[in-house]
């Protein structure tokens, strides 16, 4: 660990802190339909969209109608992407002449992008045409992010309104989110990325002659190994920068190339790397301020921000420490071989030398705290404890800032639980910002937690004892368990990153991960929307000295404890058999 590394982490958090309020205020104004500086340009466009689609701007929706609209919109979008993938061969903007995508992979990808997961069981540059990337995947990067944010805004309205039956209009929230929140910054960020060297074109791949031919060993179908000399390389390219910006800003994470943000065309410089990290947390962090502002209790927004920042720092500290410490067996081996001492640089396996350990550990923590899933290093190659951090981050429900929208509403479920469990201890029926937390709210909150842990634990359990599951594992022992666990955790959490060793492009994994993604998105969002609907209908009890406070360090502590105990205890047994055991075995001299 170096001062430079710590500086990067500290500076990053400061930038996020600085963004929180201005962007939070802006979003509150956008969704309250107050005036913003973009109105002169965007208002006419918005009106045009409503006129064309027949949306009644002032019509409000009950939570059930809102949920139905979300499902309908997502369902239709999902089908469109599936169709596009299945017929891309016959459509334009396919200079490489890529074929149609296989049904199970097309299904998996359609679900993956609709649910803001961006789990990629395919290699993009050899699977998806430019049209599919732009009109299919990038479209979903915008749409799924907007759906998440709209859901969070509906939930915030549920908390702030009183004796109201409605939560706003989904179509209006969706449109305003796209026009005001997502498009302008994505446009600007794409240009900045281009300035750093990210590519943006529609050209066919370029074949270049290698300066230094490489000799590689290839195992043929007959099992014989032959030696080949590679003299040429085909360089994949395409409309990358435009997709890259929303990939981060909408916490989508699906790379334009297989190497994702480790690819120099996606993430060329340390500055672009920093910008990408900032884009990931920008909206999730700002939404805490939007929550505080729209509920007229800024202190609550900051308390939630504080809990998120604390958990973020815990995660990044462990990841950075574990990666900087590296693998003890390497040092031992170099001693035993009496070779020149290996410089103690930590664990560089699977990391980009351009970014190094601190920026990789930081990126891995951020991308899994949020539901982004973009990677600039291979999580599979992290040390056991370093790799456990991304895993736990997702298991907690991606509420440490979290996915755009989904992070906040997931956090609100934990707020409800914390308020309910500890709120009784002040001698009143638990109240969250004046709203009584009653049986229905607790039921929905528990359902949320239950769906998450059920999906992860049940699918993983089946996969570790059945042949079709075990087939995907590329490392034996506890690391293999981590791979499977990570896959279902990532899918359920709508993260999309992977312990990339796993071979997940199989019928079982494509279909079951698809189901996990759908459960993790909609079966978790609907209970939260139900809580919002129930809270909106309630009366507000005015605050008094006897009221449970949802702000200040005490509440932040309580919230963190609830997240750690309720959120992670469920996973502790399996974690102790996977990364924890792997870590202990590594120090006992055994690796996988």
């Amino acid at each position: 660990m170096t001062p430079n590394g710590w500086f990067q982490i500290g500076f990053y958090l400061l930038v996020i802190l600085a963004i929180t309020k201005p962007l939070g205020v802006f979003m509150a104004r956008v969704f309250n339909r107050e005036r913003t500086f973009l109105d002169p340009v965007l208002r006419p466009v918005e009106r045009l969209i409503y006129r064309a689609t027949g949306v009644e701007e002032s019509r409000e929706m009950a939570w059930t109608e809102y949920a139905t609209a979300v499902m309908l919109f997502s369902g239709v979008s999902l089908l469109l992407l599936y169709l596009l993938e299945r017929v891309q061969k016959w459509l334009p903007w396919n200079p490489e002449g890529l074929g149609n995508v296989a049904p199970d992979l097309a299904w998996n990808t359609a679900v993956s992008f609709t649910t803001n997961t961006n789990w990629q069981a395919y290699t993009p540059e050899t699977t998806m045409s430019y049209l599919t990337q732009m009109a299919g995947l990038a479209y979903h990067n915008f749409a799924s992010a907007a759906v998440g944010i709209a859901l969070a805004i509906a939930v915030i309205r549920g908390i702030s309104r009183q004796e109201s039956k409605t939560l706003g209009n989904f179509w209006v929230d969706l449109t305003r989110c796209l026009l005001w929140v997502l498009l302008p910054i994505s446009l600007a960020a794409a240009l900045v990325l281009v300035s750093q060297g990210a590519v943006q074109n529609l050209k066919a791949y370029t074949t270049v002659t290698l300066v230094e031919p490489q000799t590689v060993q290839v195992t043929g179908a007959d099992g014989k190994t032959t030696t080949q000399v590679v003299r040429e390389q085909r360089i994949a390219q395409g409309p990358t920068a435009s997709q890259e910006a929303i990939k981060m800003y909408g916490t989508n994470g699906g790379g334009f190339f297989n190497a994702n943000s480790a690819h120099p065309f996606e993430n060329p410089t340390p500055f672009s790397n920093f910008l990408q990290m900032v884009l990931i947390f920008a909206i999730p962090a700002a939404l805490t301020y939007t929550l505080g502002r729209m509920t007229r209790s800024p202190g609550h927004g900051w308390a939630v921000w504080g809990a998120m920042a604390f958990l973020f720092l815990c995660g990044v500290t462990v990841a950075y420490w574990a990666e900087a410490r590296g693998n003890p067996l390497l040092a031992q081996a170099s001693q035993a071989a009496k070779s020149a001492p290996v410089p103690q640089v930590g664990n560089m396996e699977g990391k980009e030398v351009r970014f190094g350990i601190a920026a990789s550990a930081l990126f891995a923590t951020i991308t899994t705290d949020a539901s982004c899933g973009a990677v600039n290093s291979v999580h599979d190659s992290f040390t056991p404890l370093g790799g456990m951090v991304p895993l736990i981050n997702i298991m907690l429900g991606e509420i440490v800032f979290g996915g755009v929208g989904s992070g906040l509403y997931g956090m609100i479920v934990f707020v409800v639980l914390a308020v309910f469990i500890a709120g009784l201890m002040v001698g009143r029926t638990p109240e969250y910002l004046g709203k009584k937390i009653e049986a229905f709210d607790v039921k929905m909150a528990m359902l949320f937690v239950l769906v998450g842990s059920f999906t992860i634990l049940a699918f993983s359990a089946v996969s570790v004892v059945e042949k079709f599951g075990l087939a995907g594992i590329t490392n034996p022992g506890p690391h293999g368990l981590s791979q499977i666990l990570y896959a279902y955790t990532s899918a359920t959490g709508n993260n999309g990153s992977a312990f990339a060793g796993i071979g997940a492009n199989t019928l079982w994994y494509n279909s079951s991960l698809g189901v996990a993604m759908l459960l993790g998105r909609f079966f978790m969002a609907i209970p939260v929307l139900a809580i919002a609907g129930s809270l909106a209908a309630k009366k507000v009890t005015p605050e008094s000295l006897g009221t449970f406070q949802v702000r200040g360090p005490l509440f932040t502590t309580l919230l963190v404890s609830t997240i750690v105990i309720v959120g992670s205890l469920t996973f502790f047994p399996v974690l102790s058999l996977a990364p924890i055991l792997e870590h202990l075995l590594m120090y006992a001299g055994k690796v996988f």
Binding site: I421, L424, G427, T429, E438, V465, P542
Partner: protein, 682 residues
């Protein structure tokens, strides 16, 4: 209130209750009863599964059956301990119900037939609407209203108060309760309830817990606990495949032990005991809550409406000082004031006589010689007084006397006017005394605020509860009393409908309102209030409208009721937090024990250094069972409520039950492990 402890707390160690509770804890093992408590039901199923497995191992002569037996036994103990907690809570109620039942013994009643003759029927034959005669020495056969007559009644069977009370037809003192005894005179009572529905019956059901329904918070908490149970069930069920994958499959004893340790058995086992004990504490305070919901609502109360008279002040106003007008001798004023009040039987009038006697040494005189003519108070003149020996002495309200003297062209002296204003400004009531239409001076009447109230209202304020006084006085007087007693607000010149309007307006602001009342005209407001406490001395209508009855008829009881409500909620929250926090230590006990055989490296997680894997698991299970027993006294007594504001209270309770809940099992399990190893159990 030493007389009111009839339905007194039975000591925890009362052997009779203890025996009954032990019997009941076995009776409650019936799965049909257990299923109502999902957490403990899972434990029971777990115990059954391990017992069957142990029996199978035994028949197959497997080794290590001792461990299986011990785990099974402790799991059964866990269920029994939880049942015992509930049975203990119910047992105390049952003992009280038995005492009450004695008062309900069959009596005979003299029912009036249509022709006016009385017939003797058993009290169980009485229906609502029947008229009965009750004479001195007889028991009142059922709840009802006195329609004719007045009698003194011994209500100690219900209230524990041994002093007899007066019950009379009409007005607010007409309600009588079945099972009480008439001491003097004869009354005619109209029965108002059918057999089985009387106040006494309801009270018996309530203290027994038979009529107990789950309260809203309890239902929500049960959902949380059931949800946690399902999640942990999932975690344990899926652990086996992971264990199989890792090459370390687990036996059923270990898996069930892990499950039982993780699910919130502590709160699950004590939850219903806490609720019953809360009702019980109300009863110990001589308050009968008609539902657990009302007790819980009491904890949520934001506004207390308190009647001034009897609650904040001692009954009536008393004369405290005389202020002579300029040029009038103080004893002259005293003399006139006394004469004017001698025939005045109102409490104010009597207090003037008392003041003059004590302060000026003037004793009552034989007036007959002076040929007095008393002028009683009338609504028109708003004065009273006496005419004797050609003197015309009057006392009355300031404006009434001013008008009276003005008819003779006299006026109230400026100094006296100022004094009058000063008295009113300080919350007192001024009266003027005039002789022969000349103002002699003023009498200062004051409300006497009950002692110790200010501190109690300060407590309430710290709880976040606003106190509002309701009075018929003018705003000036009301403000002064409110200030003196330390109240937050007041409603002056209040009519019954104003009370109702105030409750409604507070409720639309989202606040919960509590009030006390006794009169029939209080009934609508009592029904509207979220917590309506009717006085036992009050009318039947008031008692039915409210959701609590205070047998002591003490209006300040409301404060204790609120505290009990809060205590109930705090106890639930504290034990839930404790129970959930406990899980951390149990993981560190059981997980290394499960896998240490296959992966000795995992022993670094055995931070408690428990001796053997079996001892570790057994110790965790034993701790889990014993903690229920250890917390029964706390569940029954309730966590103490401190009026220090929500933030301080939360900090304190989080420290004790949250942090304590994390730390305690580490120590407890370690100690049990030492003991288990010492006894060679495992």
């Amino acid at each position: 209130m030493s007389g009111s402890t009839h339905v007194k707390a039975k000591a925890l160690g009362d052997t009779k209750i203890l025996q009954g509770a032990i019997r009941d804890s076995f009776r409650k093992l019936d799965p049909r009863t257990m299923v109502k408590n999902p957490v403990m039901f899972v434990v029971e199923v777990g115990a059954l599964v391990t017992t069957l497995q142990w029996a199978r191992d035994l028949t197959q002569h497997a080794s290590g059956t001792g461990f299986g037996l011990q785990i099974s036994l402790w799991l059964w103990f866990t269920v029994l301990f939880a049942n015992f907690a509930e049975a203990m809570a119910e047992g105390r109620g049952k003992a009280q119900a038995d005492t009450l039942r004695k008062a309900r013994t069959e009596t005979s009643a003299r029912r009036l037939k249509k022709d006016g003759c009385a017939e003797t029927v058993p009290s169980s034959a009485l229906r609502a609407g029947d008229l009965v005669m009750v004479a001195a020495g007889e028991f009142i056969p059922g709840d009802g209203e006195v329609v004719v007559g007045v009698a003194s009644v011994d209500e100690s069977a219900i209230t524990g108060e041994s002093a007899p009370v007066i019950r009379e037809a009409g007005g607010d003192r007409s309600a009588v309760t079945g099972g009480t005894r008439v001491l003097s005179d004869e009354i005619q009572v109209c029965i108002t309830s059918n057999p089985g529905e009387t106040f006494l019956d309801r009270m018996i059901k309530l203290v027994e817990g038979a009529a107990r329904q789950k309260t809203p918070n309890e239902i929500a908490l049960n959902i949380l606990l059931a949800g946690l149970t399902i999640i942990f069930l999932l975690a344990v069920v899926t652990l086996q495949p992971y264990a199989v994958y890792s090459g370390a499959p687990q036996n059923v004893f270990v898996l069930v032990s892990l499950l039982v340790c993780l699910i919130p058995t502590t709160i699950g086992g004590l939850l219903s005991a806490i609720g019953i004990a809360g009702m019980d504490r109300m009863i110990q305070k001589n308050v009968i809550a008609m539902s657990g919901r009302a007790v819980e609502a009491a904890g949520d109360v934001d506004v207390l409406l308190l009647d001034k008279t009897g609650t904040i002040t001692l009954g009536n106003r008393e004369a405290t000082r005389l202020h002579p007008a300029p040029g009038v001798n103080e004893s002259e004023l005293a003399n006139a004031a006394q004469l004017a009040s001698l025939a005045d039987e109102t409490p104010e009038g009597r207090s003037i006589v008392v003041l003059v006697k004590e302060k000026y040494g003037l004793r009552g005189r034989e007036l007959a010689a002076m040929n007095p003519t008393f002028v009683p108070f009338s609504a028109q003149t708003r004065m009273s007084g006496v005419d004797l020996d050609g003197q015309e002495i009057r006392k009355g309200a300031t404006d009434a006397i001013a008008k009276y003297v003005a008819t003779h062209g006299a006026a109230v002296p400026q100094e006296t006017k100022e004094i009058v204003q000063a008295i009113a400004g300080a919350g007192g009531t001024p009266l003027l005394v005039a002789r022969n239409r000349r103002v002699l001076g003023a009498i200062q009447l004051e409300d006497i605020v009950k002692g110790g109230l200010r501190e109690r209202f300060d407590h309430l304020r710290a709880m976040g509860i606003r106190t509002v006084m309701i009075t018929g006085d003018n705003p000036l007087t009301a403000a002064a009393i409110a200030r003196q007693a330390g109240l937050d607000d007041f409603l002056a010149e209040a009519k019954p409908e104003d009370k109702m309007a105030l409750i409604r307006s507070e409720q639309t602001k989202g606040k919960l309102v509590a009030m006390t009342g006794d009169g029939t005209n209080d009934a609508p407001a009592l029904a509207q209030a979220d917590v309506g406490v009717a006085m036992n001395t009050g009318t039947q209508a008031a008692k039915e409208a409210g959701n609590m009855v205070d047998l002591d008829s003490n209006p300040t009881k409301l404060i204790e009721i609120v505290e009990i409500g809060k205590q109930l909620l705090i106890t639930r929250g504290a034990l839930t937090t404790f129970s959930v926090a406990n899980d951390v230590a149990k993981y560190f006990a059981i997980i290394p024990a499960m896998f240490a055989a296959a992966f000795p490296q995992l022993n670094v997680l055995n931070v408690m250094h428990l001796r053997t894997p079996q001892s570790a698991i057994l110790s965790a299970v034993i701790f889990n069972a014993l903690i229920i027993i250890a917390l029964i006294p706390l569940a029954l007594r309730g966590v103490r409520y401190r009026p220090v504001g929500a933030a301080a209270l939360l900090r304190r309770n989080l420290l004790i039950y949250g942090v304590g809940g994390v730390v305690a099992p580490f120590i407890g399990i370690k100690l049990i492990d030492v003991l288990v190893s010492f006894l060679r159990w495992a």
